[in-house]
Symmetry: C2
Subunit: 189 residues, 2 copies
DNA sequence: TCCTCAATCTTATCACTGATAAGATTATAT
DNA sequence: ATATAATCTTATCAGTGATAAGATTGAGGA
């Protein structure tokens, strides 16, 4: 299976990219395999040579978005060396990702088949959060309390991300970051 | 338009009830107007005498669920007279509603067209939360901080509700309430 | 070079869905 | 009782996911 395949060339990749673009502009609701096929200059059945079904296709698109999301979080984490602020920065980064791509949120989390427990961004946030908390509040907290606080914090960040998905919450560029920081830092963890 | 209508009787009501039942058991993804029509012993076009389109039908089903949700929150609020605990109880009630009807969550919040800003349960939680906070922390906080804390708390509760939608988080009956309380009360508001 | 084989793509087709139009049936109000 | 409006059926449409059968082409081995 070469990458410069025959007839079309690189159909699988193009379908995924057009899928990303379509979801970003229109959401996943009105996406159809046929539309993507025609946009790619190919017959309506061609995509099924590369994806078992629509669900499998969407799963691959989800993976692309998830990779970019994780990469965003990772960069934020690595570029912040202030342990007092790292959780705040991570939360901000989490919310801003969906603030900038609001239609991705419902695409990722709406379709109920995602296993959030094994979802890389969730695991990443959890592991960083509990590590930082142990460093900060060291012996003063037992495992159970740290676990609870970690869940509480993730829930807050994730819920806030959904909130900033809504038109009414997305103001001018740049202002949101400050607003998000104020909200997140208004509760003590 | 009488309630004991001809031919079928009370089709509109029955469609909504069967819709509720179907979504509770199968989720909204695989729901079709035709299935509901046939289940109700009626032709596939009959529902369109009562609903302009599928979206309008689903909106009415959402309203039913929302009413029950608001009613649940209202009862919780009215039966708790301890101002130190009322926010905690309200949050628990919020999370438990979706813990008990997990498929309702994605149905209500997944389809992006909901205006959370004017969504009754959201408004209710917000107004109660900011009132209670004013009562408790009275003059020590300005409006802006109370607003931020209210949003933070709602985000946490709402995010936790989504978490308890997942199979891995729904343990034995009764245990969840305690667990949710521990998580919510692990952060200071 | 030729030939086989697998990957890729097209064409045709299926069942299902949302939706509408045209017409039949019946309740209700005058 | 008759007219009117609400309700329902029958046909039909376009769009969708999906599959089967067959055509096209690339790649590797003889």
């Amino acid at each position: 299976m070469s990458k410069e395949a025959y007839h079309h060339g690189n159909l699988k990749q193009e379908l995924i990219e057009r899928g990303l673009e379509f979801i970003d502009q229109n959401g996943v609701e009105s996406l159809s395999m046929r539309k993507l096929a025609i946009l790619s200059g190919v017959s309506s059945a061609a995509p099924y040579a590369h994806f078992e079904n629509k669900e499998a296709f969407l799963a691959e698109v989800q993976n692309y978005i998830t990779e970019r999301f994780v990469e965003t979080l990772r960069k934020t984490y690595e570029s912040c060396h202030d342990r007092q602020r790292v959780l705040l920065e991570l939360g901000k980064s989490y919310v801003l990702f969906f603030d900038q791509n609001p239609l991705y949120y419902s695409f990722l989390f709406s379709h109920g088949d995602i296993d959030l427990n094994h979802y890389p961004p969730f695991q990443m946030f959890q592991s960083i959060a509990s590590r930082v908390m142990k460093e900060l509040h060291g012996g003063k907290m037992d495992e159970y309390e740290i676990h609870n606080k970690t869940l509480a914090m993730w829930a807050m960040v994730h819920g806030l991300a959904q909130l900033y998905t809504l038109p009414a919450f997305r103001m001018m560029e740049g202002q949101n970051a400050e607003q998000i920081e104020n909200i997140l830092s208004s509760v003590e963890i």
